[in-house]
């Protein structure tokens, strides 16, 4: 690969201390390189914020327009499952932050442990999501051809979550499909980001085991940590907005 290689360095010595192996030659020093990489990651996260921003905009508009439909539809979600998922993700953020600390303090086995825990917690989250999605499919709450408004015109009185719900009028019941459109779009997009993150975690565990991140070159772990925390923050907002719209009568 034709890279920019300097023909003449200004510094007379080109020894290992002045020039770690991972320093790319278009940078003057490792601080500049790490700085640039971190800043680049933050800018990428800004694009993610704006990407999800469109979805949150849509959500706020339709919640405003179709509040009863949103209330009834959100009662179909399980707070225990959603709350548990929230705990899983918050814990995974904690283990990821600890992983970054291990990398910074050159604790290789600690780093690997933290990354593995983060991975397991992330997989757990996706597992619970799969169960939730399965429920939606069963109850015909997936928007599209098979969508059914029966649960909202005839609420299930045996279920504690929906026992006190009044049946919705026909047009408002149809608007629950908008809620589920947003539910699947937002949680689906979030889950996609989790899947990508888990994939990268797998790669990182392999490299961490080889000592790639505990020799002073922590940039990759740090910047992945930023990404992982961002995905957690999206869920921190999704949980109350989707699950906790109104659980009182």
């Amino acid at each position: 690969m034709s890279d920019s290689t300097a023909l003449a360095h200004e510094a007379p010595e080109h020894g290992h201390e002045a020039h770690p192996a991972y320093l790319r030659h278009h940078f003057e020093n490792v601080e500049q390189q790490a700085d640039a990489a971190g800043f680049a990651m933050w800018l990428f996260l800004l694009t993610e914020v704006m990407f999800f921003g469109g979805l949150f905009t849509a959500y706020l508009i339709y919640r405003n327009w179709y509040y009863p439909a949103f209330v009834a539809a959100s009662h179909q979600l399980s707070i225990p499952l959603g709350g548990f998922n929230t705990l899983l993700l918050i814990t995974s953020s904690f283990t990821m932050a600890m992983g970054v600390w291990c990398a910074e303090t050159r604790r290789k086995s600690g780093l690997v442990l933290c990354l593995v825990l983060t991975l397991i917690l992330g997989l757990g989250f996706l597992g619970v999501k799969t169960v939730e999605y399965g429920e939606k499919i069963e109850k015909h709450h997936v928007p599209g051809f098979h969508y059914s408004i029966d649960s909202f015109t005839h609420p299930d009185l045996n279920n504690s979550a929906t026992a006190k719900d009044k049946p919705l009028a026909l047009d408002m019941a149809r608007h629950t499909e908008v809620y589920f459109s947003l539910y699947f779009a937002m949680t689906g997009m979030h889950a996609l980001h989790m899947i990508i993150g888990i994939g990268i975690l797998g790669f990182m565990i392999y490299r961490a085991q080889a000592g790639a991140y505990t020799n002073g070159h922590v940039t990759f772990v740090e910047n992945f940590g930023l990404y992982w925390h961002f995905v957690d923050i999206v869920w921190i907002f999704l949980f109350p907005l989707l699950y906790l719209i109104s659980r009182h009568s």
Binding site: V49, T57, T91, G225, H229, L244
Partner: protein, 105 residues
Amino acid sequence: MTDQKEMETASHHIVSPVVYVVIFLALLVGTAVTVGASYINLGVFNPIIALAIACVKATLVVLFFMHVKYSSKLTKLTVFCGVFTFLTLIGMTLADYISRAWGAW
């Protein structure tokens, strides 16, 4: 175990695990509070409280887990720009929808 202070360079402050534990516990508490609050009828304040708690949790993650509190002014400015543009998108679009209900003039 290498000394944590030795690991730090001038620009790279290492956050102590104690901070992480405290923030983690705060996040757990926040989650419990927000779930509990949704079962209480607070009228128009329900969504406000839920969003406020979510914002506090997000702020804690950003400041401490993502190290923004210990980062350069540029990083803080970058985060601000993201939040500002996000709020512009939501705010101005919602303003259109809300003002449609106000009629012609």
